[in-house]
Point group: D2
Chain length 286, copies 4
């Protein structure tokens, strides 16, 4: 990479909060002849951590940029990501039989709105084979009927993550609970969509619960998968107004739009390195 | 009332659902020379109840209108309300020290946007005396420090309801839990504002809970008061978007707007006879 | 159809407002042994027209129901529609090269959320052939390069409307202006999506206009097609918040979601006979 | 100011965009022993300008902080503001007879939610005297009936701005058009609330226009006052959903809530130095 064609870099940095970080980081950027086009930072009172996300235009090669930042990263003991803006994140999609979230992800990926590449959709049903195939994405289905078949499914997930260099696993209305082992293995890189406005209506049949409780807004929550079901750090939430006349079945249909857009939004932010973990909470640098 | 100056009537009717109700009701309206200017109905699959709300312009006097409707009401064993559109509902406001909900209610009442009259604001603090006084509304404060003073406060509520012909009690951020006896006594005519998007974050300090959980939307819920704390039928809910940078204190401030407008909206609908109970849910005829 | 399997009928009625209409209509419903499951009405102060939409469960056949309603329809000189609830509306989709609205319509149609059947998508580009084909819907493209090819395209629209018994024409980001003759011919049965919050930013490049003006919300408007460009009666509008950092290109991408859901919503309401014209305005019985 | 009690400073900086600015600025902050608690920046492709807003905790006195920043400000030819976080902005409110916006501003100012101090409300009507007086704010009314009385009113505005060290003039539903001279004089420090979603429905009676056009959302726009009526840079906009049943009068009532909260929000951001001008657009650092 010659200096005449600048790269567009994204950098995220996390460390203990203290004075002078911004100056040190911006000094490294100057050294790499970089121009900061986007910059966000946050100091967490809860955890005492400092979070920063930069987009930088620089003629530096990756080794040059890494060399410029290395002393700062070492000095402040930073967790860091240095990546090219817009590089598609390698993403494995898990699904069951509902297609709305999968369709939304694939349609937007193909339209260039979602910086991911999806080498595989893996489902415990065959329902979505044609839809996924239309987008030219490989599809596998492995039925889950008992503990053994569930273990086989999860083994396939683990294999796929390794073989396909997966960076993100998206549960696009995958209606099975992941085993604690798989949750631990995918920690921080698996996103689920829950079809309620968490923490309301955890667990099964949230729309039926919402109907019974007579809520006036229903919603969807995209969150990191953790071993603690429906309790992972929240990435994005949306709601939509409903009234007394809606049956539970209608709530399901209405809620699907919120599920799709909420999940796609969360995946987009994650793929753009805009989602950082701060204990049980997320920092979103929109 | 002569026939040349038609009244504008509001009528609500609730009974077991069955064919022919609308025809019977509209026949009675025709008999009273009424013209239906607004009509809404709902058949609840949950409870098998039929709900109807009408606004009718008619030259009939109240006895004449009641006489026309009486056979229908008797035949279908209807619970009914017949009232004049826009008649101010006699409303007792309970408060503590926070003024945002009280201010919103009083400002809109005075501006003619809220069809209530408020003969008394009763508080367990003296903080709001000036604010309430500015609007020319009587204010009493009775401190609550122990069981005896709490009982005295509630006794005053009961007296005030009787003496002042109160039709609705509004808990405008009244920060005490009503006794089961008072809940029972005010059943169906007391509205509370809870400062969260129920059923998430029941109980105390919902904004602190919301911060800890890292939700991306916070909200407010207006609901009927029942003996089951924060579980009464929901009348209205609103949410507002927040992000990771908000402290619990800022969430409190942001949420106050939602609390005010949610409570005022619920009171307005109730005063207009638009809120009907259907088991644990509400029918809202907007 | 025997009386043991009741039909679910939708009825819309429009006439000059006057007393007694509801009683007359409900009498006809009683005569047809119908039970009203949904009822909405509106009296327009602007035009003096009365609008009513009913859903009725009745064992009556269509001739029986029509016979019961005929005297009422005649007496009040009503414009009326009597249809079966959920019957798919025959819909012609016009498109250009952008696929987001077409994809949304087809995906929801296939998922049973949108009561239409689409016998043809007609485009002035070939871009969407594969997408449309995936959903098993016939696709034709006729390039428009001059007045003659435009006339040929419109002639094909007119033929298709006749041959295929089309009841609704949807302009799903069809980027050509319809001729006055075609507008007149499709009057009241053609819906367009405009990519701005009308009446702001009429005409071309609304997102560029929105950027230049620095608006904080962008939107989309679904409206009936009339000869007066971007001035047809509005059916639905939505907005989404944006900020200063968005480029015109990003506004395009953000706005596409609003376009899709706004158009699909308008089509759904129209197909369910919930959209009635009141002069230059629409009545929407949600 | 000793180093044991750090100030909380807000700094805004605007200059031509170029590399190295952030490093230079953060170096000055380090020199002033400052810790950056909040930082936002934006590079405008439209104007080539760079915008930055910082909140900094530092033990430095104002002269010390200014001395540290001076070389950077000079080197980059920056327009700059250095202020104490939370310092109340001296604000003159202009009003006519409608009280909703004035009430919202005063209530929130008193509640500590709005960092302004209001030494005067000036109105061309006497209607709001009691309301303003309740909040302990001086009130003057000067009727406007002709050109001379209008000139007198504006002369009083100019005097008040000077005498009272006014930093912001808020037109809180002040229903007169400012003269070009006054617009020029108050350029960049006067905010108006327009009761429509601009650029739709400029000029008079926007709710009547909105009703006639049959829009499905109505809104409010807070913008800087310029000589070009209703064309000043937009600061904030909000909308609310309405339907066909709303009369123009009801639209007015519904819209008032949006007007109040939109104006108050714009004033709050301005008072917090979050609003920067970028040509005909605004940068809002929320």
């Amino acid at each position: 990479m010659t200096s005449s064609t600048p790269h567009h870099w994204v950098i995220t940095l996390v460390c203990a909060d203290q004075p002078g970080i911004v100056h040190a980081v911006s000094g490294a950027i100057v050294q790499a002849q970089g121009n900061i086009s986007e910059s966000q930072q946050f100091s967490s009172d809860d955890t005492g951590r400092f979070f920063m996300r930069l987009q930088v235009q620089s003629p530096a090669t990756r080794p040059e940029l890494e060399a410029a930042l290395a002393p700062v990263i070492e000095r402040y003991a930073m967790a860091s990501i240095i990546d090219v803006v817009g590089r598609p994140l390698r993403t494995l999609v898990l699904a069951s039989s509902a297609g709305h979230c999968v369709n939304d992800l694939l349609f937007r990926q193909r339209g260039g709105q979602l910086p991911v590449e999806i080498p595989l959709v893996l489902s415990n049903h065959g329902t979505l084979r044609d839809l996924v195939g239309f987008y030219g994405v490989p599809f596998e289905s492995l039925p889950i009927t008992d503990a053994a078949s569930k273990a086989a499914f999860e083994a396939r997930v683990i294999d796929a993550v390794d073989e396909l260099d997966i960076e993100l696993v998206v549960l696009a209305r995958y209606m099975q609970i992941l085993s604690p082992e798989l949750c631990a293995r995918l920690n921080g890189r698996a996103i689920n969509i829950h079809h309620s406005f968490l923490p309301g209506f955890k667990g099964a049949n949230p729309y039926r619960q919402a109907h019974a409780r007579g809520v006036k807004l229903i919603g969807a929550t995209a969150h990191f998968v953790t071993g603690d079901l429906d309790e992972g750090p929240i990435i994005e939430q949306n709601v939509v107004r409903v009234d007394h006349s809606r049956t539970p079945t209608e709530l399901v249909s209405i809620g699907q739009d919120e599920e799709s857009r909420t999940l796609t939004q969360a995946v987009k932010w994650f793929a753009e390195n805009r989602v950082l973990l701060d204990g049980a909470r997320t920092i979103i640098f929109k």
